[in-house]
């Protein structure tokens, strides 16, 4: 087993069964973020940081659209069972210590988004020999790049003056989300033959 996708096909492409499962996981995670962003963005923005939620909505949608088109899909009988587990993990989890309910929801969404954008690095799965012109390879690189930028959205939200009084609760919720997301991601990678050091999965 290797820590990277592959063995590659003769033209440097990622095997379709790996593409399918990785793309399905990413679509599930980013699709959930898109849906929750759509429900969380207020009709009228009242704080500066809320502009970031609007940005997030469209970036997440772009990632889903990109993956649907860039992936070489293959039949995967195990996918339905796994997808149920993923989808249930993305359920909104408001930060309960925050008494303002809409704010608690927004903070919960930001912790999930931070975990997805920080803990999942799809481009780091690509072996050096992967075909750089392959759409799936390019999509993974694009998603990791955009994830890095979208991380700022979450950091701005989570470190905003509005949430500063709840710093400990935010930290605790964020670390829990990171653990959950990292474990799901690692489990999925192992299911397609990728070696992952999971010794740290229980840690923040």
């Amino acid at each position: 087993m290797s820590g990277f996708l592959g063995p590659l096909e003769s033209d440097g492409r990622i095997p379709p069964h790996q593409q399918t499962r990785v793309a399905a996981f990413l679509i599930s995670a980013h699709g959930a973020l898109a849906r929750q962003s759509a429900l969380t963005v207020p009709a009228t923005l009242e704080s500066g940081w809320q502009t970031e939620l609007n940005t997030q909505l469209f970036r997440e949608t772009e990632i889903v659209s990109l993956l649907i088109r860039a992936t070489s899909w293959a039949p995967d009988p195990g996918l339905g069972y796994m997808a149920v587990g993923w989808e249930s993990a993305w359920y909104p989890a408001p930060v309960h210590d925050i008494p303002d309910w809409p704010l608690a929801m927004a903070a919960g969404l930001a912790t999930l988004a931070h975990a997805v954008h920080a803990a999942i690095r799809p481009a780091a799965l690509l072996p050096t020999a992967a075909n750089p012109d392959d759409p799936f390879v390019m999509a993974l690189r694009h998603i990791e790049f955009e994830s890095g930028r979208m991380l700022q959205t979450q950091i701005i939200v989570l470190k905003s003056s509005t949430l500063q009084p709840h710093r400990d609760a935010i930290n605790s919720a964020l670390e829990r989300r990171h653990r959950e997301v990292r474990k799901l991601w690692h489990d999925m990678l192992r299911s397609v033959g990728i070696a992952v050091d999971g010794s740290n999965d229980g840690q923040p």
């Binding site: 931070h114 930028r149 950091i155 989570l158 930290n171 050091d197 740290n200 923040p204």
Partner: protein, 308 residues
């Protein structure tokens, strides 16, 4: 891969060499990871030293706190590693951000050290350094780790080092890109948001201190090292010829030799700091020469030093 526990966080470290031997503990710069000290481990081991390296919180295989990293925690993690080394003499070296962590440890726990080597280091954020740091952070945010590496490589390494690698820079960057995450690097950078200058506390460092500064380092230029030389009583500054900020990467053999000679001199009672300024040899084993008397070591052109 051994780990230390600091609160709920795990610190990955490597320790080689005979128990009881004098030890060098080496602290990474901001974008580095423990393996980059590999050449030092071999060179110092051959000179009879034990060598300890580790990934700071937020780096490599150590845990990466999600939103905040405190520099106090970094000093605490360093203290845990030093505690692992028992009672043998400890020499502590750190480069750039790691040098700052080493300075903080030496201020608070200097009695545990036999010697200190800050390299490409600073005790306060000059306006230039503050603005450069902000620009690098913006680069990381907008362009990711790879873009930060693109900025740092030409800033911190010489043409002579870069030229033969120009067509394989992606390979050079890849391991650092793989092991260091954007959010963790950003947290490390943002640990400076409430940074208080160390300058007023530097005089508390009583241990022999060799300050290493690259001749052409413009990220942390001579002036910021001069603060260390003036404020740390038993110090001397050694200028590494034709070197930039990342001379620990570019001139590993020379730097490891200087580290070993410094520790050997301290242990033999030969070390004299005197707040002197020296010029290192270009090759390992060469002679250190005093900076020419009467000339200003803060200038790049030979200007006579102003008389007091």
């Amino acid at each position: 891969m051994p780990f230390l526990s600091h609160g709920s966080y795990r610190i990955r470290y490597e320790l080689d060499g005979p128990t009881g031997a004098p030890a060098y503990v080496l602290v990474n710069g901001l974008t580095q990871y423990s393996e980059l000290w590999g050449a030092y481990r071999a060179a110092l081991f051959a000179r009879g030293f034990r060598v300890a390296t580790f990934d700071l919180l937020g780096q490599g295989a150590s845990d990466k706190p999600t939103l905040y990293i405190s520099q106090d925690d970094q000093v605490g993690a360093l203290g845990l590693l030093i505690d692992e080394l028992g009672d043998s003499p400890i020499f502590l070296g750190g480069v750039s951000f790691g040098g700052l962590i080493a300075l903080r440890y030496a201020i608070d726990h200097g009695g545990r050290l036999s010697g200190l080597v800050p390299m490409s280091c600073f005790a306060e954020l000059s306006p230039q350094l503050l603005l450069l740091g902000n620009a690098l952070r913006t680069g990381l945010i907008l362009g990711g780790t790879s873009y930060l590496q693109d900025l740092l490589l030409p800033m911190n390494l010489s043409d002579q080092w870069l030229e033969p690698l120009l067509d394989k820079l992606d390979t050079v960057k890849r391991q650092g890109w793989l092991v260091n995450d954007v959010y963790a690097l950003q947290n490390l950078m943002e640990s400076f948001l409430d940074f208080q200058p160390l300058t007023p506390r530097l005089s508390a460092i009583a241990v022999p201190t060799m300050i290493l500064n690259g001749e052409f380092d413009f990220l942390t230029p001579r002036s910021v090292h001069e603060t260390l030389r003036i404020e740390i009583p038993n110090s001397s500054m050694v200028i590494i010829p034709k070197a930039y900020h990342a001379f620990t990467l570019e001139k590993g053999a020379l730097t490891a030799d200087l580290l070993a000679r410094f520790a050997e001199d301290v242990l033999a009672g030969r070390w004299q700091g005197n707040q002197a300024v020296w010029v290192a040899p270009e090759e390992p084993g060469g002679e250190l020469t005093p900076f020419p008397a009467g000339y200003d070591h803060l200038r790049a052109i030979p200007v006579k030093r102003a008389l007091p």
